[in-house]
Amino acid sequence: MSVATEFKPKIVAFCCNWCSYAGADLAGSSRLAYPADVKIIRVPCSCRVNPMFILRAFEKGADGVILCGCHPGDCHYSTGNFYARRRMTLLFSLLDYLGVEEGRTRVEWVSAAEGVKFSQTMNEFVEKIRSLGENVRLGDLRCKN
């Protein structure tokens, strides 16, 4: 059933509890807009995000996945985001290598005070995914119908 409708991307944003989630909160309370296409999943730390989470999100229909954590050096658990950084660097590079379009994954460091950055990042990311269109290379066909 292909009805020509405007493409509504599904974006999953993994946000760490201490900085980025609070940043999202601040964006909200400051009345800064970002598209409702972004679904936030709160995690204790960016380091909690297993590569499988990213792939699962794509499997179940996400068109883009972004991971937000505290700025390097500011991790609530001191070093979590340093590990996350290495992991995501390698994972995203591997996904590029498999031919998944580059823009579909992103890491951004957002502090609790950066409501503006949060909103800007999400706006940019959604725009990018809109330009890339629907994710077909990493989705599971079974979830499409």
Binding site: K60, G61, D140, R142
Partner: protein, 342 residues
């Protein structure tokens, strides 16, 4: 007996696929597997053993049985589709052809498996005699004649021609449909080819392998043998042997959540896997030795006990070639024969 020149095979394939989909050995990335024919497919009738057997055509590795959706607050169940179009399975070897009979006994006896039955009814098997049997072959051990597969249609590649002989009604129907491409031929060339193949079969390294000592009555004696403890050790517990096997028929039924609903599908299972026959209370085979034993006991003891003495191995030798650690059913049979002084 009919025949067609080798150069005209593409025309034959095109003619077959006009009214039925055609599945045959196709080379991809250096490996040959059964796949749907298309004009640019790299058809490979030389390779004796496709990596996976031809069993997928009737019993695919995974298939959806039904799916459940939510629709207007109610659950809607959609049945998986039964095969309703004819297809031709071309280039099957004698061992794989016999493998279908092994599967038939399981899936076509009560309760009949409707998915399997539909495929079986719509499929016509065109077998190809083995021009050059290989060292890992031992189909003769199970009474199979690779020179005369006995499928719906048997074919022989002799020199620059493919000889064609229908054996069943289905085979006759296909032959009639293709009559414009097939010409009459005498049996002489084929008789020579058969004699040639049988001559090679006698010279194979496994030619003297026998099933002596195995069968439905050997259950207790074989099950309790201390030999298993020695034999299983290198086993990695991967599923290569089971997934390339033309007769392995165990399957698992699983649910997949699509987010909007559930798809219930079945997929091949492997007795080598730790979750094989897992039930609510746990697993009744808890060690790799037990799982390893299960595979060979099933093929050489349990199956013959259940199905009138037929063995559930056709001697294709795929496990011999593919096991990452060099284990296989022949080594098991030989080890028992040696132990029992036979």
């Amino acid at each position: 007996m009919k025949k067609i020149e080798k150069v005209n095979l593409p025309a034959l394939f095109a003619a077959i696929s006009e009214e039925a989909s055609l599945v045959l050995p196709v080379k991809n990335g250096g490996m040959t597997n059964f796949a749907l024919w298309s004009e640019d497919a790299d058809v490979d009738l030389e390779t004796l053993k496709t990596v996976k057997s031809a069993k997928d055509a009737f019993f695919p590795q995974s298939e959806t049985l039904y799916s459940v959706h939510r629709e207007e607050g109610k659950l809607k169940i959609t049945r998986g589709e039964l095969m309703d179009e004819d297809f031709v399975l071309f280039g099957v070897r004698a061992c794989d052809a016999r493998g279908f009979e092994v599967l038939d006994k399981v899936f076509l006896s009560d309760p009949v498996d409707s998915f399997y039955k539909a495929r079986r009814e719509h499929g016509t098997v065109v077998a190809l005699a083995c021009h050059a049997p290989e060292e890992s072959c031992f189909c003769t051990t199970f009474g199979i004649d690779s020179a005369e597969p006995g499928a719906d249609v048997d074919t022989w590649m002799v020199g620059e021609a493919l000889y064609w002989k229908a054996n069943t009604e289905k085979g006759e129907a296909l032959t009639n449909r293709l009559s414009a491409l097939l010409s009459d031929a005498d049996e002489k060339a084929v008789e020579e080819e058969k004699a040639n193949i049988r001559g090679i079969m006698e010279k194979l390294p496994y030619a003297s392998l026998t099933t002596e000592g195995w069968g439905g009555d050997a259950q207790k004696e074989k099950f309790e043998s201390p030999l298993w403890e020695e034999l299983y050790k290198p086993c990695l517990a991967c599923g290569t042997c089971t997934f390339v096997c033309p007769t392995c028929q165990c399957y698992d039924i699983k649910d997949y959540s699509t987010g909007e609903g559930v798809q219930r599908y079945r997929c091949w299972d492997s007795c080598m896997y730790s979750d094989f026959t897992m039930m609510a209370h746990g697993n009744n085979r808890t060690s790799q030795m037990q799982r390893y034993r299960q595979r060979f006991m099933h093929k050489l003891v349990y199956y013959p006990a259940n199905y009138g003495g037929t063995f559930s191995c056709v001697g294709c030798g795929r496990c011999v070639e593919k096991c990452p650690t060099g284990l296989n059913i022949v080594k098991v049979m030989k080890a028992f024969a040696e132990k029992e002084g036979k």
